[in-house]
Assembly symmetry: C2
Amino acid sequence: MYIGIDLGGTNIAGGLVDENGRIKYEGSCQTKSHRPPKEIILNIKDLVLEIIEGYGIDKGQVKAIGIGIPGLADKDGKVIFCVNLGWKNEPLREILEEELDIPVYMDNDATVAAIAEYEYGRMKGAESAVMLTLGTGIGGGIILNGKAYSGYNGIGSEIGHMVIGENYYDCNCGRNGCFETFASSTAIINYTRKLLAQKSTDTVINNLIKGDIDKLNAKIIFDAARAGDEIGNIAVKRLVKYIGIGIFNIVNLIDPQIIALGGGMANAGQFLLDLVIEEVLKNKYYKSLPMAKIALAKLGNEAGIIGAAMLSRHTG
Amino acid sequence: MYIGIDLGGTNIAGGLVDENGRIKYEGSCQTKSHRPPKEIILNIKDLVLEIIEGYGIDKGQVKAIGIGIPGLADKDGKVIFCVNLGWKNEPLREILEEELDIPVYMDNDATVAAIAEYEYGRMKGAESAVMLTLGTGIGGGIILNGKAYSGYNGIGSEIGHMVIGENYYDCNCGRNGCFETFASSTAIINYTRKLLAQKSTDTVINNLIKGDIDKLNAKIIFDAARAGDEIGNIAVKRLVKYIGIGIFNIVNLIDPQIIALGGGMANAGQFLLDLVIEEVLKNKYYKSLPMAKIALAKLGNEAGIIGAAMLSRHTG
């Protein structure tokens, strides 16, 4: 048995996962990210113990704990950066291993999601695979030869910060043109706001948000596009163009067997997938050669717990 | 002993290479690329036999022949594309193996250069490495876990066609914004021509090309920049900006231990390297984390023969 922890900015979700990737027991608590890191880390410890007791097994039966973090960790299990949590150089592994006496593994949450999809989801059994989590940002997880790949210094697979063009606003990272400023839900919301401010066109979006621009989200924009709304379609078309560029760059560099789309925006489902595939095929220049399959991720939110639980198998 | 062949648009160079990567005997012939592919392939056969006889060994002592091609090959050793040669689906391996009865391997010429630099040059012993050949185009070679990596469908490591921005002219591949349209010698020559046509500034470039715009090349532009020339410096600055973006994207995705710069433009040497490193470090946002070493390739033109000779060790 393994325990997987999905450490998010709002909630910490945890689960006991068996050797076949099935979640046997779940628990969660609030992150309350304004608190000192040590307090949050001790809450993770409590959550682990609650899960062990809740399912009624011995602590000794838990082979490893894995944690998906919204940031970067170094090889020693120190969390180097978690922008959303405001963490810097927090000794997450050291504290938890001392408190729990169970081996602790951690990696970026997008890498963790990729592991889950590779072990039990859409990318199962692929020789090489890339997972894109299209959410408020864009996360990337790479699987090569059956193992999660994070690069020599642990800073690879940061696909959201690949520069693919010039954009009208800068990225949080300080640079301009990052993939996630074109193709995340934040990007499509920002761009639609811009269109709404510029255009006087009638749009169903104004009805859907009931005049409150803060209610604008990616789902509303996709719903509008599906309903034939002009602004919705302009925004979706731009999004798809840039998702296509990002995917093509991944093919040009890594050429994986499969690319899976996950994260909140993948809820737009087949509608988005069809548009993305059409866009990518349009640009394919080796017409006669096969290229990566593009598909929707399968495990949804559970990927965070399942992938984290499997981290020990992908490390070292 | 191995034989390495560097198949170029103008010349075919070949060499007998020992187990330690030393070239023991060399030969070459003209490609005359307008001829039917079969004729050129039979010239490669003749070159191989000439090298074997010239050094005076038995054919049986040659373990393998490797060929670096300016294009793409599939897993069966068929050359799918060679734009410069006008080849499409040529059964290069099949013909040569039948004629010579020695196993034949092939890969893209940039991958071959990466293998040479990994085995005996600047990237020796690296866990992961990326070679950029900055020439008339940009080639990319990736080494992961000690093996050349070309992706699941053999179309990876095409780093020159990674889209990194929007450019004022389209790429040969039909798309806009490819890395090589910003950062190859063709790119800096095109851009300098544009500047010369627009600007009335005095520039030493006009003296260096003696009024003949067709004499403009990357070396002249670098020489002008070094001499403090304004147009030279504007062109070099733009080049370096985009080399920096391309390298940063490689770090964000693959995060290799080392990135080596080769190809004709790397002849600008330490002057170019210093500017590139400065540019990349300026954009580094994980200040406290180490990142890939950036260095000049070491083997020059010999990389084509040496890397090709080592292909059999990197295949399968």
